[in-house]
Symmetry: C2
Subunit: 369 residues, 2 copies
């Protein structure tokens, strides 16, 4: 999947007999280089190329699809891969920033032309596309056809897309939750955390989230229905904070941050607790990661700690939709988007995500149809 | 279970109408105090008391059993509980050393008298008893009746007892192994590690173990059938050592040591690897545990890391016997014991275990019948 998306097929090459096809402008957001940390606006630049609105002829484009991108997703994993990590793990990860190539990321798109038997012009899809107006995808493996169009299409970058599926897989499949259990979510105001918390409430769990500002804490409690929430930046003793919110201990920890928070959580887990490791955002920019010293509690409390990637769970997507689409229609899930209009505002939106100043799921509306 | 074993019932109290019952010598090994690290001989002392060979009369002894102890087990967990750990976990753990009380540990015993409907005089049992000649057990919950007596009875302190069940539960139940997988076992010469390695070989896995001396390494390879083994003390770079023995990476890590070894293993795990956390012996005596810095790999490789206690798996004991007793009779499992004769040699045997100088499973033969 990654290889296909990142391949630099020169699909503007002529001589394919499609000279009569309309050639249109294709505005793009390109990366200057690989990045090693969180992206800055100066890591990206704009380019205006042209593209023919047709999949090129030739055997090598059998299975290819030309997409018009409608919504692009700003996600926290859209960042650099540390050299030390990439050495051992590159093959498993998507490179979002490659020199002079469009940024890679999830998006919602409309099929303009197709040489793929399962996709036809006019179909709506979501999957891993690029930050440009039109994208030729040579391997459609990452794409899902959108069948439910009676919900906002932009939701397929979040609640009904990868973040929603991540929340679903991590909570239901990895954590194996039961009614009445005590659930803690770090980085709870993030796209995934918000959804996990609401899934847990709908299941009848007690849910506490942490976030990095009083505004987010208030929203978690008042808007997203968390039982409690706290600002981790104002807690000098995380262990004490967790003991305050979980006097009985934690059954399920949805891990998004790592570091000191994980160490404090380990001290507060209950017997047979589960930790779904979705991310460790506090560690991404450390050259030397913070050491976790309380892993002995994995034994004392017979804890299962499991890292997961949403990719391994996409076969459950139809089951996920059966659960979540009714929740949306019945108003049982709260979902907030922070949509900016136009690809030209994309880089700023992506950078804002990492500053913690986003007001909801970051989405770039490239075209409304 | 722990509470029952550690309760200080004064079963020598008179006035129970059993004055005609034979009163015999009961030699005991007592602890001077709680201990906070590995035991030394000076932490223990001998005492000779007397005991009536009959469960006392009275309602409170319904369900009690008087045992003659035959074999006592020297196990690596027979050590102190750190104050910082015990604060949160005491309720889940057995206290082996309590002031002026017999050492608590696993053993093989014969029922002398019983007020329990499921046990009768002459039955052979194994479970958590005390370091003395005779022990009154008021709660038989930890005991299993021994039905297979055509194998050495002392095996029920090891291969057919708690260490064997630990190996079985950790390998088959927690690790979910498959034929052909790459298995690494730290502290592989220990009572549990030896058995795990042989289970893995019998399943068709590639098995490498580490130990702390060349002699143990040689035995792992030549006597216990490991594919490879190495002396971790002679590897300045554990990551490089693991890469040498596992060029394709590790599917299953049976964790007995923690610390730097765990950190190196995390760098070498394969996709969807499993880590069964049985112990972290390298960390038991540290006031401040070593920090683990490579947990990000739990995500990169979608690794499941799970702490377990054998207690949670004892319902599988019959299934375990069905597997292992035939292996023993067919000579498919190698098992070595280091038996000392007499309770008076017990303390030295227990202390030797922690020095790494044990030649096999440490057993104290208190009585041969």
């Amino acid at each position: 999947m990654a290889a296909a998306v990142n391949s630099s097929i020169n699909y503007k090459a002529g001589g394919n007999g499609d000279d009569h096809v309309e050639q249109v402008r294709n505005q793009q957001v390109l990366a200057r280089d690989y990045i090693s940390a969180i992206p800055e606006e100066s890591d990206m630049y704009f380019n205006t190329s042209t593209i023919k609105l047709k999949v090129p002829a030739g055997e090598e484009f059998k299975g290819s699809v030309l997409l018009k991108n409608l919504y692009l997703s700003c996600d926290p994993y859209t960042r650099g891969v540390k050299q030390s990590d990439s050495a051992t793990t590159k093959q498993d990860r998507i490179v979002f920033f490659s020199p002079d190539s469009p940024i890679v990321g999830y998006g919602v798109s409309k099929v303009v032309d197709s040489q793929h038997p399962e996709f036809k012009a006019g179909d709506l899809v979501w999957g891993i596309t690029k930050w440009e107006e039109y994208t030729l995808i040579t391997n459609m493996e990452s794409f899902f056809k959108i069948n439910h169009t009676d919900v906002p299409l932009s939701y397929y970058t979040g609640l009904l897309g990868m973040p929603g599926m991540t929340a679903y897989a991590g909570f239901y499949e990895v954590c194996n939750p039961k009614k009445g259990e005590y659930v803690y979510i770090s980085s709870a105001f993030g796209a995934v955390g918000q959804i996990v918390g609401q899934f847990a409430k709908l299941m009848g769990c007690y849910v506490v989230g942490s976030a990095g500002s009083q505004e987010k804490v208030d929203k978690l409690k008042n808007k997203f229905g968390f039982d409690e929430a706290f600002n981790y930046k104002e807690e000098p003793d995380l262990n004490a904070a967790l003991k305050r919110y979980f006097p009985e201990g934690i059954d399920i920890y949805f891990e998004n941050v790592g570091g000191k928070m994980l160490d404090a959580v380990l001290l507060n887990m209950r017997l047979h607790g589960r930790i779904a490791v979705c991310g460790m955002i506090s560690q991404y920019n450390y050259e030397q990661h913070e050491g976790i010293t309380n892993l002995m509690h994995l034994i004392y409390k017979r804890i299962r700690m499991e890292g997961f990637f949403v990719f391994d769970f996409y076969h459950l997507y139809p089951k996920f939709l059966d659960l979540v689409v009714p929740y949306i229609k019945e108003g049982k899930i709260t979902y907030v988007e922070d949509i900016v209009e136009g690809l030209e505002n994309g880089p700023a939106s992506l950078v804002r995500l990492f500053s913690g100043r986003n007001a909801g799921k970051g989405v770039v509306a490239v075209a409304r149809e």
